[in-house]
């Protein structure tokens, strides 16, 4: 098993956010395991993604649909495109099981999404559940908890 150093784990989280802000969505999706989920709960401290609503609870198929849609010629809601900006606090390593290559990190963030003259600011915490596959770190679960997850929102078009 390849062991990741603390710095490698932290760098991974930074690099993931950078791929999103640079809109390198294919590279971003490749960071996820085949059985991964991207989860944005609807309630603070939510435990159940199945029998309670969420803003997003998406497997790789749904994430792929999103990415291909963003590139579509008739995706009118992305003409013009949205842009994003992640500002991350230093990720904290919450747990490390080096023997099995499994790690969890928690990262406070401010996220800005903009389109045309509108710019929205969101704040929250991202939890990364990472595993090691073929010597590479991969995301098994990315959980995004917005501080105001139960508020009314306009369109959230991209990924936090």
């Amino acid at each position: 098993m390849t062991t990741s150093t603390s710095q490698q784990l932290i760098d991974f989280v930074y690099a993931e956010a950078r791929l999103l802000d640079e809109q390198r969505f294919e590279d971003w999706l490749n960071l996820f395991t085949d059985d991964a989920f991207y989860w944005m709960p609807l309630a603070p401290g939510q435990q159940d993604p199945h029998l309670h609503g969420s803003l997003m609870y998406e497997d790789k198929l749904l994430l792929r649909i999103r990415i291909e849609r963003l590139a579509g010629a008739r995706t009118f809601s992305q003409q013009p495109r949205s842009r994003s900006h992640h500002l991350l606090q230093a990720p904290a390593i919450e747990s490390a099981d080096s023997d099995n290559g499994r790690y969890t990190l928690r990262t406070a963030f401010h996220y800005v999404e903009t389109r045309l003259d509108r710019q929205e600011l969101y704040a929250g915490w991202a939890a990364h559940e990472l595993v090691t596959q073929g010597g590479q770190l991969r995301i098994k679960l990315k959980r995004v908890d917005l501080v105001n997850c139960d508020a009314a929102f306009g369109n959230i078009n991209l990924f936090m």
Partner: protein, 442 residues
């Protein structure tokens, strides 16, 4: 002189047989008149009784733009009160939901009210001796909304004390709510899973119109549902079809499918798409559900209940119900160009959990601010809200499959791509806007 206030003829002139004037969507004075008249003359959805199961439970919401609180009174009835202290105006109930015990207590001066609104006590009561307090409206406590009806746990109210009765207003349209409730083997629904809240920069009626607009899915949703189908087609042969694809794919059915599914139009602005068929008709069976339905109702009746595949039912003015998916959407008017959409989900009591899971997935994929289908729709509404500012074209067209004979009919079924339900809504709009309006001579 204002353009529309006290001018019912001017308001009626905005609705023609096959066109409506753009002011319905962009004029703030009309919006305010809607709040004063339309939302006071009609029966408006407040909430679901399962949100207030125990005595003292309350839920705060709005009717039009007015703050109300729905509360379970000490006699177990459901009351709807204006959420306003009669003293200084403070909203008495502060949380979205909670339990207030035997009485409400205003946080400003500790006036207390029974859960039917009546005044219980005021501190330093002697200070009101010989002030004529008993003849002030404040002594009457929190004002109750005068007309409340609970139909199978769905709570509606009419703000005006007098007006059309509940049964007369809804007529046969209640059959959609009935069908959704009957889908529970115990004949009972519970609000479950939280509520998705989605802010729109457009008029509330654009959302209502869209619910029975069957000529947009294959166009506006090509980007989302169309992409979902295309991505799914790349999956290896034999891969089981995921629930998400099953929910997305029917949105891009061809025109012919929507033509054949049919629209039913009732009186007073109510109606539904999906009579003979619908985008909800071909979902995979949920294991164990059919057996529980048969045990509860017998095979014939269970077949009849589940055979209803109604798509979107509009309860005019501002909610939409999907029986086969167990969702209710409330289009909350905030301003002429601002609408909050709440999408609620129900658990069918006694049915397998997987049904609620599917309901929640549908809501997340279609109705969330993070939903790609929602993004498609919101984009066209918001573009329309801006586009309608243009001069040169003052009317919105709703002529599709117009038949002059439809005007007098209270219950008819027609081609699923007809705009007859939208026309029905606008006729009801003109009617309930002007019923309580007096013409003032110029």
């Amino acid at each position: 002189m204002s353009k529309y206030r006290d001018r019912p003829d001017a308001i009626r002139a905005l609705v023609r047989d096959t066109q409506v004037h753009k002011d319905l969507y962009i004029d703030q004075e009309l919006f305010e008149l809607e709040m004063e008249h339309l939302f006071a003359n009609t029966w408006v959805y407040v909430g679901h009784a399962s949100q207030v199961p125990n005595k003292g439970d309350y839920y705060t919401t709005t009717v039009g733009t007015e703050p109300v609180v729905m509360v379970r009174h000490s006699d177990d009835s459901v009351k709807v009160l204006y959420n306003r202290c009669p003293h200084k105006g403070t909203k008495v109930a502060g949380e979205v939901c909670g339990n207030t015990g035997r009485f409400f207590r205003c946080p400003y001066h500790a006036w207390t009210f029974r859960t039917d609104g009546s005044l219980l006590a005021t501190p330093l009561k002697k200070g009101y001796d010989n002030t004529g307090f008993d003849s002030c409206e404040a002594s009457q406590g929190m004002a109750p909304v005068p007309a409340v009806e609970v139909h199978r746990d769905f709570v509606f109210c009419r703000l005006n004390a007098h007006g059309i009765g509940f049964r007369e207003f809804f007529g046969d349209s209640l059959s959609t709510i009935d069908n959704m409730v009957d889908r529970s083997p115990e004949g009972k629904l519970q609000i479950a899973g939280g509520v998705l809240r989605y802010m729109h920069r457009c008029n509330w009626k654009m959302l209502v119109d869209n619910q029975t607009d069957t000529c947009h899915p294959m166009v506006a949703h090509e980007s989302s549902a169309g992409t979902a189908v295309r991505v799914w087609q790349q999956a290896p042969q034999g891969t089981p079809k995921p629930m998400a694809v099953e929910l997305f794919a029917p949105f891009v059915s061809p025109y012919e499918f929507f033509e054949k599914m049919g629209i039913r139009v009732w009186d007073n602005g109510h109606g539904h798409t999906g009579v003979a068929d619908s985008i909800h008709a071909a979902y995979s069976p949920i294991p164990g559900y059919w057996d529980r339905m048969v045990a509860a109702y017998g095979e014939e009746r269970a077949q009849k209940i589940l055979g209803e595949v109604r798509h979107n039912t509009i309860y005019f003015p501002n909610i939409m119900v999907k029986g086969p998916v167990q969702t209710l959407r409330r289009f909350v008017p905030l301003a002429a160009d601002r609408t909050l959409v709440e999408s609620w989900t129900f658990r069918l009591v006694g049915a397998p959990d997987l049904l609620l899971e599917r309901t929640l997935m549908y809501n997340r994929l279609i109705n969330a601010p993070t939903s790609v289908v929602g993004h498609d729709d919101t984009e066209v509404y918001e573009r329309a809200q801006e586009g309608l500012r243009a001069r040169g074209r003052d009317w919105i067209n709703v002529a599709r499959l117009y038949d002059p004979a439809e005007r007098g009919q209270a219950n008819f079924v027609t081609n699923g791509t007809s705009e007859s339900q939208m026309r029905n809504q606008f006729r009801a709009w003109a009617n309930y806007m002007t019923r309580t309006m007096q013409e003032v001579a110029a």
